[in-house]
């Protein structure tokens, strides 16, 4: 019998929380099970009975990497429910805050987590011995993203300045201007990142994905837009649950999100890029083309390159906002709670983050639903691994394991949202 088993133990240190399991028999992949424990389930219960105004700060604690995304989706959900739409400088400040999160999250993933896979290092610590300047560049880029979050959000992790309706305190024009020089450096560094990453070798791999992202008529999507897909979906975010459902799988605590009509889908930088290339700034488009990309990219391994392009965009957009910013007279819009349901869907660094809340007449949350991007990508990751492993069965175990890890990291799976610890092991029967 010619059989092998690839076992990826997420949470080897924490019993019973999940893992990845691939079974190969007679040169065929017969089973792929991806299994991630999801704290959002815990938070959904934790939110019941809490006031609408507490949701941004509570949900921000789900993830240390993308607290802004959680704050934004929960604020937009409350505003949707209470009939408020935010415009002007407050809206711009939200975009700026989100740019900060994209810059810091993308820099972390590109330089500290994913680049070592492509350059053949076990981790960034090994990579730093040979590429110290690249690592320093990544760290400085990330730091500048954090600086934006500190100035707009009040502090860099778990920003405390965000509230339903806007901000507790708006930064002054001068404070934002103070970020300009660093951001100009960051924009150059992001262009250099595109060039550097474009020299990597990308495994030849693609599938017939359905990409799903927000799309807005005037801008590359961050906070607002309709939900669209590469296979014709085009809906307001309020209809999310009519088209997407979470399936419970026997093998896992985790819920796998799927499109009711067609199954798996793909969210994140690659999806945004493919559905919104025309909304990137000229500099970001140029950086993409110079790096060898066209307006469509279907190879998930090139996600690292698209992240670099989005980093150029985020720096560009942040500079635009800062150049035109005038502090608002009042940093927030008052909201009046009412019995209602509200939906929020924004573009976290790794894809759409959906929140839905039911509120009572006092604005207390009676029911919450949170669907993080990582659980939306789970099915696509499983399908990728199934096909990817099938074509690489000739590889030795260690090589195959390496490439599986690299393939999982294409999605920048948010282990903070999804699991805390992840270990990977390959076994042949």
């Amino acid at each position: 019998m010619n059989a092998k088993t690839i076992k990826v133990d997420f949470l080897a240190r924490v019993e019973g929380e999940g893992g990845l399991f691939v079974r190969v028999r007679d040169q065929r992949v017969t089973e792929v099970k991806l299994n991630i424990f999801e704290p959002p389930r815990f938070f959904e219960a934790f939110l019941r009975g809490r006031k609408f105004s507490e949701a941004p700060d509570i949900t921000a604690r789900i993830c240390g990497i993308c607290p802004v995304a959680y704050q934004m989706s929960s604020c937009h959900a409350a505003e949707d429910a209470f009939g408020v739409h935010i415009e002007g400088p407050i809206r711009e400040l939200r975009r700026l805050l989100y740019c900060g999160e994209w810059i810091e999250s993308h820099a972390l993933h590109i330089y500290l987590l994913h680049a070592p896979d492509f350059l053949g290092y076990e981790d960034v610590i090994q990579m730093a011995k040979d590429h110290p300047e690249a690592v320093q560049r990544g760290l400085r880029l990330k730091k500048i993203g954090n600086q934006i979050m500190t100035v707009v959000g009040g502090r860099e992790i778990h920003p405390i300045n965000v509230r339903v309706g806007g901000f507790y305190k708006a930064p002054s024009k001068q404070q934002l201007k103070g970020l300009t020089e660093d951001l100009k450096w960051a924009r150059d560094a992001a262009v250099e990142t595109c060039r550097w990453v474009s020299t990597f070798t990308f495994p030849d791999f693609q599938r017939d994905y359905e990409f799903v992202a927000l799309r807005h008529p005037d801008e590359y999507p961050l906070n607002e837009g309709r939900l669209v897909s590469s296979k014709g979906l085009d809906i307001p975010i309020q209809e999310y649950e009519q088209h997407f459902a979470e399936e419970h799988h026997k093998h896992s605590n985790a819920l796998h999100s799927a499109l009711l009509e067609r199954g798996s889908y793909f969210v994140g930088p690659l999806a945004r890029y493919n559905l919104n290339f025309d909304k990137l700034t000229p500099l970001a488009q140029k950086a993409a083309r110079t790096a060898g990309l066209t307006a469509t990219c279907r190879n998930p391994f090139q996600g690292i390159l698209v992240r670099a392009v989005e980093t150029v965009y985020a720096c560009d957009e942040a500079l635009r906002i800062i150049a035109h910013y005038e502090a608002p007279d009042k940093p927030y819009v008052e909201v009046t709670p009412r019995v209602s349901i509200g939906h929020g869907c924004t573009e976290a660094p790794r894809g759409i983050l959906y929140h839905r809340y039911r509120y009572d007449d006092r604005g207390l949350i009676s029911n919450a639903k949170i669907v993080p991007p990582t659980s939306q990508n789970l099915k696509a990751i499983e399908e990728d691994l199934s096909e990817f492993v099938s074509a690489r069965l000739h590889l030795p175990n260690d090589r195959l394991q390496w490439q599986c890890e690299q393939a999982i990291r294409n999605y920048d799976p948010c282990i903070s949202c999804a699991t805390h610890f992840l270990k990977l092991r390959v076994e042949r029967e």
Partner: protein, 164 residues
């Protein structure tokens, strides 16, 4: 005479919503309000890159985090990170997280370790979603608090000895 600019950090690491993972935060909250000459208290989630930024320019760092090495819960580990490599079990090994151990080892490679870096690891038991510490872990908190106080006073004593 003006007081010297604070350049020592006491960092508590962890996620308060992951049960025992929150013990770092519990310890440093106990230490707030105590006399900690020269030390500033910081709470971090454990994102390694944030740590690298947080301790830039600091002369001394004491860091408290939850760990899982397999010994009895509540066991207190103390490591001098400037002289010893962090053991593998210290790492929150993941495809995503760049954690405490990774930050310390990257700083070592880049020559950016603080001149003094002491790490307290408190052996945790339960890292599932929740806001309470396991009884064994909660019971270890006073011991860690007094060790850190002694450590800080020792450092302060060292400093005044040097000045003298």
């Amino acid at each position: 005479m003006t007081a010297p600019r604070s350049s020592a950090l006491l960092i508590g690491v962890g996620n308060p919503f992951r049960s025992d993972d929150g013990v770092g935060g519990v310890v440093i909250r106990r230490l707030r309000g105590q006399n900690l000459p020269g030390f500033t208290i910081v709470e971090e989630t454990g994102d390694g890159a944030e740590l690298l930024e947080a301790w830039q320019g600091a002369s001394a760092v004491i860091l408290v985090d939850a760990v899982q090495s397999g010994v009895a819960p509540g066991t207190i580990h103390r490591l001098d990170a400037t002289t010893e490599k962090l053991p593998k079990w210290f790492s929150h090994c993941s495809t995503h997280a760049f954690g405490v151990a990774e930050a310390i080892e990257l700083a070592r490679t880049l020559g950016e370790l603080p001149p003094s870096l002491v790490v307290y690891g408190i052996e945790g038991l339960d890292f599932s979603a929740g806001t309470l510490l396991s009884p064994e872990v909660a019971a270890s908190v006073p011991g860690v608090v007094s060790s850190i106080l002694a450590e800080i006073r020792g450092l302060a004593g060292l400093k005044s000895a040097r000045i003298a």
